[in-house]
Amino acid sequence: MQRGCVKDVMAATAPLIEVESLSKSFGAVRALQDMALAGYAGKVHAVMGENGAGKSTLMKLLSGVFRPDSGSIRLRGAEMAFHHPRDAQKAGISTIFQEFSLLPNLSVAENLFLGRERQDGRRLGAAEIRRRTREALAALDLRIDPDWRVGSLSVGHQQMVEIAKGVLADASVFIFDEPTAALASHEVETLFALIRRLAGNGKVIFYISHRLSEIFAICDDITIMKDGRFVRTVATAETDVDEVIQGMVGRPIEELFEPRAETLGPVLLKAESLVGEEAPKPLSLEIRAGEIVGIAGLEGQGQQELMRLIAGFAPARGGALTLADRRIEGLSARRRMATGIGFVPENRKDDGLFLSLDIGANMATAEIARRRLFGWVPAMDARTAEIMRQLAVKAPDARTPVVDLSGGNQQKVVLGRWLMAGARVLLCEEPTRGVDVGAKREIYRQLRNFAGQGRGVLVTSRELPELIGLCDRLLVIRNGELVAETMAREATEDDLLRSALPVVESEAA
């Protein structure tokens, strides 16, 4: 209600903050070109685009982290030049970064007044800082002791403290960069209520997120970016999900997935009553050549334990695991990989890649690990180049450090590693986590190609539509047990969710 009124009043007025023909390059990469954006008081404005579309660059220009090459940022009609994040904060732009800029070893009060312990030329006493912190927290309905260490608070509370920082600074523009990425669902509701309240008080909110449902739940306007350029700004009420995705990707959503396998080969990998220390319930499954099998389930139902038991990171305590007629349950992870199991971990950067090494070295690791210690390194340049071409890795050559690649391209490097090592079955945890829509499509295509060459893929994912679209067959895991099996072409999100929910709840529903 409140928002509606403000909207009508403000519709005719000038924007509070306006960005015009803003450009920024990093070396040869043009991160942002001719960007335009206008924020009106009292409105929540979504900024959308694939990873690498330039959203973060734009927000970092607005918050003074980077300086623009050209173009202008105007706040209430006055041209701004930020040389330091402090300049933007003083001008009234408060950014809640994806990775919090809070200091976990400091108290809430110390964090809120960091760098602003002096006001009007005098130093604020500890008591006054504490009092004003309490006021700012109370204004947000937060019951937190100002003396508490920020690192001891929940993620949701930490984010609220970030917002309190903006409230305290009397900011007029709030930028939220993927604010819900780390929040639990009840925390998301609190955050939304808070955002609505800030908008109700006439603040401008820029909201960056990949989650379309959130955008449609909370935003008044949507600005779409692609390749560092402005695409269009639309009112949320006058558009829908498909149109927004099309604007971001340039193609409709159905085209994300490749056609499923038409014929399947013999069974490649077979687990029979496999038991491990962390997976005490016997697990049985089969993967055929050419097949992509998905594991669906609520978070933390034993997906990771299952994958790691098959990969061999946890020793088997019973049961059998067969890879193309060879019993492998007694082998170490290293030996299993040598016989043809590939593993793509969920946490790409920590567990999957050597960020400081180049593409070639990252792709070579699995192949080299199969060989003797102190053996000659085989010539792999031609093979690396071939795989890079096959996977369409966007990089000048194999000497490019992996740290410089986008999430999607990094994922391709991990995939390439197993192509190079000749893996026959790929265990893939959350293959598209943290990559944008365009790169998702690429990854789906590569996984399908991988399976198409007579190999098998086992995938876990939190996103049901992704599993349904990508896989041939789905297994549902609940509390460490595989409880349901369905062909992906007949699967619906409803049915999968019903099997995935704990028994008591699903009976009640």
């Binding site: 200091l103 960091l114 690192g151 001891s152």
Partner: protein, 326 residues
């Protein structure tokens, strides 16, 4: 609006250490003081008459003053997630400068100016050239030690009369070293706990990038830690020179690593942002009481090295961050 539930106030003293920001940062100090108390009690039991004699305690204060000063300086650097290996060489350089054939009003400021310059170079190299602190200060340590030996190839020279007076004898029944300790400690505690520099230092040491994004001049804060450390080293050099009444180009060599030992034993983490000068008091006293007690108990001084090294490993493994990302 649907408010988040209040963060529960956790019960118990231990939980308080985890939740309250101040006590979280000082938790190492609490442990160190407990260890120190145990050692003092042990000394009372094993070598009561000799340890708690006025002569011994007075000697102890005199011996410990330089280590106190450099450890406090080192504490600043460690809090800022740096490392200063050059303090030993800076002590030696200031000793060499202070015994040059110059007038006192010239050479005393000169010694401190030289130390400040070394600190600036250290900080500038670590922060702006992004050289790893260990490499940077190892390099300057070599340069500075070389300069000290060039200026004063062999021990000798005359110390400024003022320093000889300030560093020897007793005042109101207490040894001179005691006053140096009190002055240095008070200054360090005031800087860390009484000024905005302190909060900014904790922030910068924890995460320079986040501190910068919060509007803090993180590079300057870090450079300043090296300057403070070098100035404290110069102060230690001044004390030693006055106490010996002559110069020695190698007088600081043992103190470089011991300064890290004192700070680390006091609960200051080498990863930055946790600890502080209060803990360093306990850390230095632990080293002092240990050396002194072992001496009095008739243990060979060579064992002291073994014990010190073992304690460092123990302390660092006890104090290390238990929570990921904190």
């Amino acid at each position: 609006m649907s408010a988040l539930p209040a963060e529960p106030r956790r019960a118990g003293l231990l939980a308080r250490f985890r939740q309250d920001a101040f006590w979280y940062r000082q938790r190492g100090a609490v442990l160190s003081f407990a260890v120190l108390a145990a050692m003092l009690a042990l000394a009372a039991a094993v070598v009561p008459g000799t340890f708690y004699s006025a002569t011994n305690l007075s000697n102890l204060a005199g011996q410990l003053a330089p280590l106190f000063l450099v450890s406090l300086g080192q504490t600043f650097v460690l809090l800022g997630a740096g490392f200063d290996l050059s303090v030993g060489a800076v002590i030696s350089l200031s000793s060499a400068i202070l015994t040059l054939d110059l007038a006192d009003p010239i050479k005393i400021p000169l010694a401190f100016a030289a130390a400040a310059t070394v600190g600036l170079v250290n900080g500038w190299g670590c922060v702006h050239l992004r050289v790893h602190p260990i490499i940077m200060t190892l390099a300057t340590s070599s340069i500075v030690q070389g300069l000290a030996l060039i200026l004063l190839p062999t021990p000798g020279g005359a110390a400024p009369g003022l320093l000889v007076q300030l560093a020897s004898g007793t005042f109101m029944g207490l040894p001179a070293g005691f006053y140096w300790i009190v002055a240095g400690t008070a200054a360090a505690i005031w800087l860390v706990h009484g000024t905005t520099y302190g909060v900014r230092l904790y922030a910068t040491g924890q995460n320079p990038q986040a501190a910068w994004m919060s509007g803090i001049e993180a590079p300057r804060i870090r450079i300043l830690t090296y300057v403070i450390s070098s100035l404290m080293a110069a102060l230690a050099g001044a004390y030693l020179t006055g106490r010996l009444a002559s110069g020695d180009p190698n007088v600081g060599s043992a103190l470089g690593l011991d300064s890290v030992l004192g700070a680390a034993l006091g609960g200051t983490l080498l990863s930055g942002g946790v600890g502080g000068p209060i803990g360093t008091i306990a850390g230095v006293l632990i080293i002092g009481v240990l050396n002194n007690g072992l001496n009095l108990a008739g243990v060979s001084p060579y064992y002291q090295f073994v014990v010190k090294g073992s304690m460092l490993v123990l302390a660092v493994s006890l104090f290390r961050r238990k929570e990921a990302g904190l």
